[in-house]
């Protein structure tokens, strides 16, 4: 729910920032689709986020908007040998030295990529 709410806030701010370009006479923008990238380390279940998204969007200009989720893989850098590699969520061993002592470089982000709008009456 936290993530869905923050996503809606960022979406509405993006629309607000482009309001002048989006609005025409009496028509106002409403959100059709939102694209988001989610790192696997965040443990977000896309289906659960989509459900929460629909709930938080009710009564807003994003009501009914499609949420397109792309899951982003992990990237790690071994603290011992320096090798950069792609661990899986259940195995973080470095392929070079076999130790699981790493810094996670990617896979923690949740990025709002695009907001697609159309014009609605009134």
């Amino acid at each position: 729910m936290t993530i869905a709410s923050e996503l809606l806030t960022q979406t509405l701010l993006a629309v607000k920032a482009h309001e002048a370009q989006l609005s025409q006479r009496d028509d106002r923008p409403c959100v059709e689709q939102v694209e988001v990238e989610i790192g696997l380390m965040r443990l977000v279940v896309p289906e659960a986020l989509e459900m929460a998204w629909q709930v938080v969007c009710e009564g807003t200009i994003a009501q009914g908007a499609r949420l397109s989720v792309t899951e982003m893989p992990l990237s790690a850098r071994c603290r011992l040998c320096g090798r950069t590699y792609e661990p899986s969520i259940d195995n973080y061993q470095c392929p070079q030295c076999n130790e699981a002592d790493m810094d996670i470089c990617a896979g923690n982000d949740i990025i709002l990529k695009t907001v697609t709008c159309r014009l609605c009456e009134g």
Binding site: A14, L43, K113, V115, T116
Partner: protein, 215 residues
């Protein structure tokens, strides 16, 4: 019309966590986020730890639960300030709640801040609170398979405590399963076996803790 945004959705949360860490750094406080399932012994660990820390330094506790002040009451008489945070429906502490908790403390008067997170093995992992270190507890009655089942929690740990070790013999507990799973998940964090009931293993934990003090 498609608007390109490319913005971190949790930017507000991550910014607040950084602000918390800055406040703690400026005051020379080492903050430790303690995470585990409910009932693994987080509060009991702190009840045993606080009196020892208070002998050579000073500490404070922020403790998160959905409801009640019971954990704060358990730690009230140990000589350290304790702030209970009730998250209501929240399944993890947020950096905003930690910021409000810190407001109640005189940071210049403490060396360690223990943040006892809401008992949960999933959601707390994803939220940086502004801590410097993460300590994860796993109790013997939870079984031997939790490291493999909840890898991200154990991957993020700087130290792992296997608690309630006095029950290991009765439950025919095999610690080698934990060590084997950790060889794939986290080989950096020390695994310390403790029992509050038997009073064993605490010296290793206290020595590790003393070595983490930042100032």
């Amino acid at each position: 019309m498609k608007i390109n945004v490319v913005k971190s959705v949790l930017e507000a949360s991550d910014t607040m966590a950084r602000e918390n860490r800055d406040r703690l750094d400026k005051a020379g406080v080492t903050a430790i986020n303690i995470m585990s399932a409910p009932g693994s012994g987080k509060t009991t660990l702190l009840q045993k730890t606080i009196p020892v820390v208070m002998r050579s330094g000073r500490c404070a506790v922020l403790v998160g639960d959905l409801q009640t002040t019971r954990d704060a009451e358990r730690m009230a008489d140990l000589g350290a300030p304790v702030v209970q945070i009730n998250t209501g429906r929240g399944c993890h502490l947020s950096p905003a709640e930690v910021a409000r908790g810190i407001d109640y403390l005189d940071l210049s008067a403490i060396d360690f801040l223990f943040i006892e997170n809401v008992g949960n093995m999933i959601c707390p992992v994803a939220f940086d609170l502004g801590e410097h270190l993460r300590v994860v507890l796993l109790s013997v009655p939870e079984g031997e398979d939790k490291v493999a089942k909840y890898p991200t929690l154990f991957q993020s740990a700087d130290a792992i405590l296997l608690t309630k070790m006095d029950l290991a013999a009765a439950l025919n507990y095999d610690v080698s399963c934990i060590r084997d799973d950790l060889s794939r998940i986290n080989t950096r964090a020390p695994l310390m076996e403790v029992s509050a009931q038997a009073g064993t293993g605490f010296q290793e934990w206290l020595t590790w803790l003393a070595g983490q003090r930042r100032v």
